[in-house]
Symmetry: C2
């Protein structure tokens, strides 16, 4: 039965909406819709329900402000760190030797026969001497996502997205001190293809990944160099709205049930059947600051009403708890990785209950459910502080803040909200907090703040005693994404990049003095970055605990 879709007031059946070209019409509509936002800072911001004033440079709110656009090439010797960044539509990943000022090595996935390699997110395992070798896991986004940037491209009509361009690969890459080699596609080995965040466990024994188009997350082991990866556990989340027969907006807003299902590997094949586009509920990602496009019926797919937006997993540094980040519900399912059972659900919106129970409702397969009275807003990224005593997640669109939980109690069912990070500039839907990380000493949280075009994005510094913003670096560049910190406690690396083809680079400032240092070029449409850790303890400040 075709799902109903609303498009600018027109109600059309999903099949009619998608047209005859297997979703291409829908994709083109999406491309037209999003073109203004993601293609050019000069274009109209169509698809957005308002405009945003430029960043305030006056400092009249009493918070120190730095206009980053005045800075030039960074002239600091940054030490011997390797900065690893995926290029998104650049199609590969590169490792920069920061102190020596050169690219150490790089990989380009189309050369391996991947017809749509959107190098999306990555995480690196610690290596005692990364200059001699390290390993990382790099997801590639679902192929149809290449269609949402308004490019005049033939990639879909040439069939390049059909078979070898579906994306959702999980590439395991080895650097041997000389060059990078693709040693395994974990999606192919296990049958589980996921295209979004990858996070290493705090003990470096494996990694988790997730995909908000499929609502699936999986936990993988870490095999020896010449062995194949195994799935430890996999889960799917589904949403059953109380008002599922009403408007799409009500489908979430009026509450409902979050269902978590343990996925079972078919015995006959010994492999899951979730590679490529298999399992997609929506045809392309929920672009940041636009989770409400699903609610507005403007993101087509097989099953948008069941969407929870399970896009990421982050790990508590204590190594027992992992948090499944659920964007549509601004919630986090806490999983016990010793029992592989969910223990509770953190609910982030201001005014919502802090901690919801999740109950097993059946076995074979295992299914758990959690009921929500309402959903006040969508959410986005999340993370644990390096000492594990705090957890934060963005509330976006309908709210615009960051909920901070006290997570010091050994029982996650007792984790409670203790603060909200807010800014007078975060009014309406945007600018909005986007990604976060913590200083190595835990005294500060750094938050990238996404401004709609034509403005450049910002990075703000939050004092983790007061959860107040104490400094702002504004006008950095289009679309500030994740940050990394150097493990010596000295530097913060704020990567930025237009989603497609706009300017890109890294803005660098001090973790301790908060002095701005300038820019380094960095190519591609970065969506992530990590400094290769040299010890497991560095994972507390790496792509493990935060996104």
């Amino acid at each position: 039965m075709p799902t109903e879709q609303k498009d600018n007031g027109l109600t059309v059946s999903r099949r009619a909406f998608l047209g005859t070209a297997g979703g291409f019409t829908g994709a083109l509509l999406g491309a037209q819709w999003w073109q203004g936002m993601v293609n050019s800072a000069q274009a109209d911001v169509r698809g957005w329900s308002g405009t945003s004033p430029p960043p305030d440079l006056s400092g009249k709110d009493g918070i120190a402000v730095v206009d980053a656009s005045k800075l030039r090439l960074c002239k600091e010797d940054l030490g011997d760190y390797i900065y690893l960044a995926p290029e998104k539509l650049g199609g590969g990943t590169h490792a920069v030797d920061l102190g020596r000022g050169r690219t150490l090595a790089w990989i380009s996935y189309w050369t391996y026969g991947d017809a749509c390699p959107i190098s999306h997110h990555l995480a690196a395992y610690p290596s005692a001497d990364p200059y001699q070798g390290f390993e990382f896991v790099n997801s590639t986004q679902g192929g149809d996502n290449v269609m949402i940037y308004g490019l005049d491209t033939k990639i879909k009509e040439r069939g390049l997205l059909d078979r070898f361009g579906q994306g959702n690969h999980l590439y395991r890459v080895h650097f041997d001190g000389q060059s990078m080699t693709l040693i395994e596609d974990v999606a192919e080995s296990t049958g589980i293809g996921l295209g979004v965040h990858t996070t290493i466990y705090p003990d470096a024994t494996g990694f988790a990944s997730a995909d908000g188009q499929k609502d699936i997350c999986a936990f993988f082991d870490r095999p020896a160099r010449d062995q194949k990866t195994q799935v430890l556990q996999a889960f799917r989340a589904d949403w059953i709205g109380k008002a599922s027969n009403g408007s799409l907006e009500d489908n979430w807003a009026k509450g409902g049930t979050l269902r978590l299902t343990r996925l079972i590997k078919p015995k006959e094949t010994g492999k899951f059947d979730l590679e490529g586009t298999k399992g997609n509920k929506i045809d392309w990602e929920m672009v940041p600051m636009a989770e409400n496009l699903v609610e507005l019926g403007q993101l087509p797919g097989d099953d948008p009403k069941a969407l929870t937006g399970l896009d990421a997993v982050v790990h508590h540094p204590g190594n027992r708890w992992s948090s499944l980040v659920i964007r549509m519900l601004s919630s986090s399912i806490i999983i016990d990785r010793t029992t592989w059972e969910p223990v509770c659900v953190l609910h982030n919106p201001e005014g919502s209950p802090d901690n919801l129970p999740i109950t097993k409702v059946s076995s074979g397969p295992d299914v758990w459910e959690c009921r929500f009275e309402d959903i006040k807003c969508v959410g986005h990224e999340a993370g644990f502080s390096p000492d594990g005593t705090r957890y934060t997640m963005m509330n976006n669109i309908q709210q615009n803040n960051m909920a901070v939980f006290d997570t010091a109690d050994p029982d996650p069912r007792k984790w409670k909200k203790v603060a909200f990070v807010k800014d007078p500039a975060w009014v309406g839907e945007y600018p909005s907090p986007f990604h976060l990380c913590f200083s190595v000493d835990g005294s500060k949280m750094f938050v990238s703040v996404l401004y709609p075009k034509p403005h450049n994005s910002s990075c703000v510094v939050v004092d983790t005693r007061t959860w107040k913003i104490i400094k702002k670096f504004v006008n950095i560049g289009p679309d500030c994404q994740t940050m990394s910190v150097s493990y010596d406690g000295k530097y913060v690396f704020q990567i930025f990049s237009g989603f497609q083809r706009l300017s890109a680079g890294v803005f660098i400032f001090r973790q301790d003095t908060l002095e701005p240092l300038g820019f380094l070029p960095n190519f591609g449409g970065h969506h992530d970055c990590v400094i290769v850790p040299t010890k497991n303890e560095h994972l507390r400040n790496s792509r493990c605990t935060t996104l």
Copy 2:
């Protein structure tokens, strides 16, 4: 009739050599052959007939030497220049804002549906304010070249090189002050696909391109932003060896006839029929320092015996003469662009005649021939000094020097060799001079010097009064490619990059004081670079006069 091929003493027919997979066996053999050279600095240098000592750091030859590997991140404010570099197997091109230390914009060709986008060479038209907009032409190499790096890739078995991955595109790209857009594939518009050098005419009214696998060069006009490019003239070069029934080595060494044919656009279609792999004589490029693989029968293809290696065109700054660079014969055909007729052939090897006549032998189509008594060595890149009084081209493999011609006379038939640039270190086949450019004031020539693995490559400075080397920057990085100079006379940018996946970056030193300044990261397997000119006169030091 199948051509004979020798492989390690075995004589096999070409068809047997290529196997049943359309050249794949040959390509795999090539990949195996080349893996050592191009894939890892640790690997054996198979396919090379010797080894090379590391760069001499002693300075015992009396020439100042700088060990570049000791330098770190460049801390100089480089001014407001835009540095444009293609990524080769990175699949795209990026523009770096040097002074502001960030990537200004970038493009990734696979996103347009190009299944094998080896972003190879480029040249930029002058723009009064390139920050507001500029245009460039970017060739992509023939697709089978992706197979020669020893990658464990599925790109060929998945059919991705068959239709949309044949390469040899000539992409015209426009930067609008925000982002880069692919506005035309000149190969598609004109039917002439060429995958190697592109060079803008000195008056910026169009560009030339060439391809040493096809032995074809073409001269194109420069249309308005929304118009399609037209072919002004196109030529094919062929070799008829005197000893063509003997060994492949003798096919060239024992002399023969160079034939130049003017190509005619079919009236019926209004388009040439030379897109993609159409017209290829050999299946992949002659890798630098390995032109002799053709002579040794180790580079398969449809017609290797007819190969001349017409890989590039460079333009005399006076704007009348263009030089067709012929690698297999270490020669240059000088074309008069006012009459579109060849006027003479410069022959570069030491001990060979300087200037050979080329005679029209038929019309409809026009055909000219030039006879060679012998071919003493192969050649590589070439270029004119900014004042047009000198021309130089590398003699490689059998010789290892640079011939310098006096080109001050208005009649190219009077151009004569006046010097050879040599270095005591250039013994045997390598290290060998590779690319060249001149300082803005013309007082110095900069030459990249390719060392075989595991050594890093060098850049040397030549005094253009004496044609002696006066300084050496050694241990820069793997595979130093072309250089660019800033038009204020201050800096030289020596790009380097492993052919695939090794370290990459830009080494920077002063044009005037020759002081080394350090490195900037630069991603991908660069084969070229250019600083976007702001005036036509900058083309004298840009990708116009030199390679």
